[in-house]
């Protein structure tokens, strides 16, 4: 990460009246990076993106794009391109006219327009559709036009605002790959907003998790998965979500006792004060089924959901524990099964601050 910073945000704040939408956002994005802003609805991720585009005025802080202070610059001077959730195509223009709109605003010669449109259209598979109107296109095709409109400008930064949320599931998976491939081919700097953590994890180099206007954690996808710094991030990243069980560190400080039937004890690798109450986080994929003599604890099965490749098993305890199995299940609902937890991958959180204990 030695490349120069393409985007730099310093202590960016945004208020809507009394509502503090963005709180002291600091973000540094090296050139060529794919950044995903992810978080639940209302966390401020779209506000942050729109502030970066200049569509929202910030209430404080500084924003730089490619070394230029853009904090008070109108959107049209920032040289950023945005793909909207609704695509925001110009309905009265053909695909070619949509693609070349920015060039026509820059008064590019007519002869070059068609060539530019054809070049971009060829790169994203729109050649056949250049003379169609947006209303004659499918959702996926509209999505491509919106992307083409961004590509043709060769902007400093690409912004995506939940671009795949209006597409059906299979198309979404395909477009995910295409957008990432496009990013790599153009060597672009991309900021991508999504509420879908899978999109963020699969596409981005750097994931920023937002919650209530605050950056909870920003790191590479695998760091977020393996070392979440808070219970929120741990629960948000990963699917199905992490199991949280209340517990208490034993007198020896090397194991934790879970608050569930049988009060099982698990060895831990973290150094923790003895007798401290903790929240234990265990990912569903880090629990496996074992014969009763080897297991850490056993629980009754309440539900088995099979997708063919995976089985999601719910276990009867409060709160319900879930586990994910890739091999075929040999038990059925009502059976008591023995379980083993991958000790190296147990996460501990302080129940009061919800921060990770390392």
């Amino acid at each position: 990460m030695t490349s120069p910073l393409q985007i730099e945000l310093k202590a960016v704040n945004k208020y809507y009246g009394n509502f503090h939408a963005l709180k002291n956002i600091d973000l540094a994005v090296p050139s060529g990076t794919f950044v995903a802003l992810v978080g639940p609805s209302g966390c401020g991720k779209s506000t942050l993106l729109r502030s970066l585009a200049g569509l929202e005025e910030t209430s404080g802080g500084k924003m730089e794009i490619a070394g230029v202070d853009v904090t008070d610059m109108p959107p049209r001077k920032r040289d950023v391109a945005m793909v909207f959730q609704s695509y925001a195509l110009y309905p009265h223009m053909t695909v070619a006219q949509n693609l070349t709109y920015s060039l026509r605003i820059q008064k590019v010669a007519k002869a070059e327009l068609r060539a530019a449109a054809e070049k971009v259209a060829a790169s994203i598979g729109l050649t056949e559709l250049l003379d169609r109107y947006p209303r004659e296109l499918s959702g996926g095709q509209r999505q491509r036009v919106a992307m083409g409109r961004a590509i043709i400008r060769n902007p400093k930064v690409f912004l995506f605002d939940e671009p795949l949320s209006n597409l059906d599931a299979s198309l979404r998976v395909q477009m995910r790959k295409e957008i990432r491939a496009l990013h790599d081919r153009l060597g672009a700097t991309t900021v991508y907003v999504t509420h879908d953590q899978i999109e963020a994890m699969t596409m981005a180099d750097h994931v920023v998790v937002l919650r209530a206007g605050v950056i909870e954690q920003q790191a590479s996808p695998m760091t977020l998965y393996e070392r979440p710094t808070s219970k929120f991030v741990a629960g948000f990243i990963g699917s199905p979500a992490m199991n949280f069980i209340e517990g208490k560190i034993c007198d020896n400080g090397t194991s934790v006792m879970l608050e569930m039937a049988g009060a099982p004890k698990l060895d831990i690798v973290q150094k923790v004060t003895p007798n401290m109450p903790v929240t234990v986080g265990i990912r569903p994929e880090h629990i496996r089924v074992a014969p009763s003599e080897e297991c850490d604890f056993s629980l009754p099965v309440t539900l088995i959901e099979t997708t063919g490749t995976m089985s999601y098993v719910s276990l009867g305890t409060a709160p319900e524990l879930s586990l994910m199995l890739t091999d075929r299940t040999v038990f059925s609902v009502g059976d008591n099964i023995g379980l083993v937890v991958d000790k190296a991958r147990i996460h501990l959180f302080d129940p009061k601050t919800e921060q990770a204990i390392t």
Partner: protein, 300 residues
Amino acid sequence: MRRIMMSVVDGKGFDLILVGAALIFLFLFSGLPLLYNILMSFQEVDMFSLGKFFRPFVGLDNYRALLSQPAFWPIMWNTIVFVTCSIGGQFLVGFSLALFFNLNFVGSTFIRGLFLVSWVMPGLVVGAIWNWILAGDFGVLNYFLENLGIIDEKIFWRSDINYSLWAVIITNIWLGTAFNMILLSVGLAGIPEDVYEAAELDGANAIQRLWTITLPMMRSTIGAVVSLGLIFTLQQFDLFAAITSGGPANSSNVAQYWAWELSFRQYDFAKGAAISTLMIFFVMFAAIVYVRSTKHEVRG
């Protein structure tokens, strides 16, 4: 009878009944008078033959007589000036107001609603109010213009042949602006905000956005507003009656007022009918533009 009842019950042919009822109504109350008017324009009509249907056929004599009147061409020119300037003024002011209220500031919806007051007032009342505003000696319009230094001496709007037509045009612009504004506001509201945002990010400034996004996307609305404006303006009679009565010396007379004058003042029904028939062509033209513009609605 039973078949008709059945068609209502099982729905078959019910649509024909609905369409038929509307068409019969239109034919009786609009079609027949229209046709009767056209017929009358080719006949010799006087006070004694007024109640008859069959009257001496005179061909194009009424039209020839109209054309030979010295007032004909000035009045036609007045009509063109009145229509163009009224529509132009109503559209420009209405569109500016629509853009202004589209900023959605606090209270904008309420104030926009208040503007409709001018539209719901009867033309004669509007004319009476504007008579006060336009009055030469004590009217506020003169007072306003004098104090701004735009004019040096008072203009007698209603009695000066150079201004009488403009007195009616100004009043008519005031009357029709609200209608234009409301229709155009609806058109503006139909343009999604993100399209503007996309254009802004694509580098377009406010004026470029107006030309490349707003106006093209409002084409059908603008077509509807202008053609309805043409129809309403050609129907505008009250203001002439209330403000200038077409005078002085026909300086503010227009076709529709002249038709009434000929028919109901001079009892020359044939010539009045001839003018009305001529006007039908203009209105038909406007109606065709209107129907076409509403057909070509373009929305993403």
